[in-house]
Symmetry: C2
Subunit: 246 residues, 2 copies
């Protein structure tokens, strides 16, 4: 009988070995094939010396999933590795959708990781201590009108707002529009945290406000956290009070 | 010269050793004093044999922070340990607020962990693949009117909605009200995931819909994830498509 293959969809967290979970390390050790970007594979290099590596640097998401499922269908244990949490704008959805589409009987296990919102928050202090919204400004797969409406609703609800993919070479104006929408509901002095390379090499942390946020470097390695109406800065930390010290 | 103390505010993730990050283990090993609940301390028992343990089971959040800072101010390295991510309805905010209030010069490092939303999502499949809101239904420290407005805004924005603290012995009707608000915007057939003890011993995973969700067991160990208008169930997995297979 042919072995049924297995896929681990692994989030390694921010991209620093120390932030990986024991489970993600265990799953990688157990795997015969590793699919992933070179950058992420580098931090686990010592664990994967004897394994088959498929460096998917230049491949699109769907192609990466196809390769992963192909390998698993041969009866192998395959890890598809990416940063953050695979369930947040990551590979979990595409793998499961494609497994369903192909009527594949391979087993899939999603191995959660620390997502960028939580990593950035930890470096800023405690900005996410109250209800928060997570929004990606990438309009590659989502209509910009839908995203704009979400920003509006999140701002109206006084959510702390975490922005993923705030800006890239081809996506410049979205962060400006987002800021403008939020300004309808919140003061220009609202605390804003900007973290580049959160909890990995080259980390840069900046606390500013809604008025001045665009003066700072924001790119595709950056997470932007916009405080709610109670968030404040103190001693270089961004804190959203939860009400313990009213 | 007196050593300046240090506080690690540590999230151990869902509560299973395997989901802890290497950094959280390292910080615990480095610490001289561990402050935390018995339940969480049990999973790291072998790491803390020679350490001073302050089991804070019966103490309130603020008291736990006071003890932690007191110990650190003696020049010790102290870990305050809790489940999930300390920055999401956890201890990070209270510790930082109190350090500021006391004008303490102890160093504080927030060690992020996998928060319950991401753990529950991994067990359900891939429900959080699109923009999502995280809302706590606990009205102990937040006016219920504020929470209701947030639920309304999140529902209006077609966010996937993750509910923390959905129900407890003294908090029964909030989940019913939340469901009713969401029903104004979403079909009764909207996919809903209910995960009890996500990614730890005794895990129970249930996929249902908005209409029938209240028929299932929901308590304080449960995370409820309400899908957006595109979320679906397939082969016992909850998936929010991101648009790869349009």
């Amino acid at each position: 009988m042919k072995n049924k293959g297995k896929i681990y969809v692994i989030g390694i967290g921010p991209g620093d070995r120390e932030q990986m979970s024991l489970m993600s390390l265990k799953a990688i050790k157990e795997s015969e094939v590793i699919v992933g970007y070179k950058t992420y594979i580098n931090i686990i290099e010592d664990l994967i010396k004897e394994k088959e590596i498929i460096n998917s640097g230049m491949k699109k998401e769907v192609e990466r999933c196809e390769i992963t499922i192909d390998e698993a269908e041969k009866g192998k244990i395959v890890s598809i590795v990416s940063s953050g949490d695979p369930g947040v704008y990551g590979m979990a959805g595409a793998v499961l959708e494609l497994v369903n589409k192909r009527n594949s009987d391979v087993e899939v296990e999603i191995v959660p990781g620390i997502t960028a919102a939580n990593a950035a928050a930890a470096s800023l202090g405690a900005p996410l201590m109250h209800d928060y919204a997570v929004i990606s400004l990438s309009d590659l797969l989502t209509d910009w009108e839908v995203i704009k409406k979400r920003i509006d609703c999140a701002a109206a609800g006084d959510f702390i707002i975490t922005l993923y993919n705030p800006k890239s070479k081809g996506r410049i104006t979205q962060i400006e529009d987002a800021r403008e929408i939020i300004m309808k509901y919140r003061k220009p002095s609202t605390t804003v945290g900007i973290v580049r390379n959160a909890k990995r090499e080259g980390e840069q942390v900046k606390i500013t406000n809604l008025e001045r946020m665009l003066e700072h470097n924001i790119d595709m390695f950056t997470i932007v956290i916009i405080g709610n109406s109670n968030t404040y800065e103190s001693n270089n930390m961004m804190i959203t009070p939860r009400g313990y010290f009213k």
